[in-house]
């Protein structure tokens, strides 16, 4: 088989599988029926995909928070050390402020109240500062874009 023939046959099966996998104008019921006919356990697969999305979402949030933390630490290392404005805050005040972020879809929206309560005051201050840095970075990115 020549190179051209070999390429043609692969392109043909690529086109065939694109066509058979297309769902632009196929109803949900038809897709379900076809998948079942192909021997796919649809319920188990969908459940697995939902878990993948949840997992990826969590990883992305952690990554975003980690980036903010790294930037905050980098900024702090460049600036003369200043005491955090939140150092005098009580744990309750800090948790209340963090909860404000939790209600606005922050990167750590999955942290529960109990998890926050178990943190020490220093950790809560660092977390709040990371959240503020994340928000500032997001605002700066939106500003740069516009």
């Amino acid at each position: 088989m020549g190179t051209e023939d070999k390429e043609k046959i692969i392109v043909f099966f690529d086109t065939l599988t694109d066509a058979l996998g297309d769902s632009e104008s196929v109803s949900k019921e038809e897709i379900l029926a076809d998948l079942k006919e192909d021997g796919i356990d649809v319920d188990a697969s969908v459940k697995h995909i939902l878990a993948m999305v949840e997992d990826a979402s969590q990883k992305a949030r952690r990554q975003q928070l980690e980036i903010a933390r790294e930037r905050r630490l980098a900024m702090e290392s460049k600036k003369p050390t200043r005491p955090s404005e939140f150092l005098d805050w009580t744990k309750e005040q800090l948790i209340e402020k963090i909860n404000e972020f939790l209600s606005t879809g922050s990167p750590i929206a999955s942290v529960s109240y109990r998890e926050l309560e178990s943190k020490c005051q220093e950790d809560l201050v660092a977390l709040l500062e990371d959240l503020i840095t994340t928000k500032e970075l997001d605002e700066q990115a939106s500003h740069d874009e516009s």
Binding site: M1, I40, L50, S57
Partner: protein
């Protein structure tokens, strides 16, 4: 696939849309596409990638946490809906795997193959070439099954011309879209059972 060193940075705004998307519906569309593409990869000897592996990689890339800091930005002008965008990501992953396979085969022939790519296929170059012959035989076998069914033959011609979108096939043949989808379903059923393209990976 784009990595962090390229000019256009990852736009994290997509994450909110991914978080709030109707995944029940999107999952079905992704499964349908990925199941078909996984069959093709298997037919090419790439046996370590199932439909859910393709979907998982596409989701990771969309969330900006792909392997080696790779990611994909959503161009809404090209792909107005999220499922369409993710399907395009799966297509690109499949193309990348095909290219890697080709490189692996050529390197094997040169005996300079990259051991990191060995997982792509446990086969020798001769076996990989045989797979391409098998595909040719498979195409012929499917054609024998559809021969005489004028409608399927008409759609077959479109596929040979590289037309894969049912709405484009509809334009080309003059059939309405429902008819085209029914013909494609007939084609799928007729070719079912012909290994390896119709073989499902478990």
């Amino acid at each position: 696939m784009v990595n962090g060193s390229e000019e256009k940075k990852y736009d994290p705004k997509i994450r909110e849309e991914l978080d709030n998307a109707d995944w029940q519906d999107i999952s079905l569309r992704l499964l349908r596409y990925a199941a078909n593409k996984a069959k093709m990869l298997r037919a090419l000897g790439i046996t370590d990638t199932g439909p859910e592996d393709l979907i998982q990689e596409a989701i990771s890339l969309a969330y900006g946490i792909g392997p080696n800091n790779t990611y994909r930005n959503w161009n809404k002008e090209t792909y107005p809906d999220l499922a369409g965008f993710l399907i395009s990501v799966i297509k690109s992953i499949v193309n990348h795997k095909k290219e890697q396979r080709e490189k692996f085969k050529l390197d094997l022939l040169d005996k300079t193959f990259d051991k990191d790519l060995k997982h792509l296929s446990p086969e020798s170059p001769e076996e990989l070439v045989t797979r391409e012959h098998d595909l040719m035989n498979l195409k012929q076998a499917i054609y024998e099954l559809i021969k005489g069914d004028d409608e399927v033959e008409m759609v077959w011609l479109c596929l040979e011309d590289g037309i894969s979108k049912p709405r484009h096939i509809a334009e080309e043949t003059g059939y309405d879209i429902t008819r085209v989808n029914n013909i494609l379903r007939r084609l799928r059923r007729k070719s079912k059972g012909l290994a390896p393209i119709t073989e499902q990976r478990h």
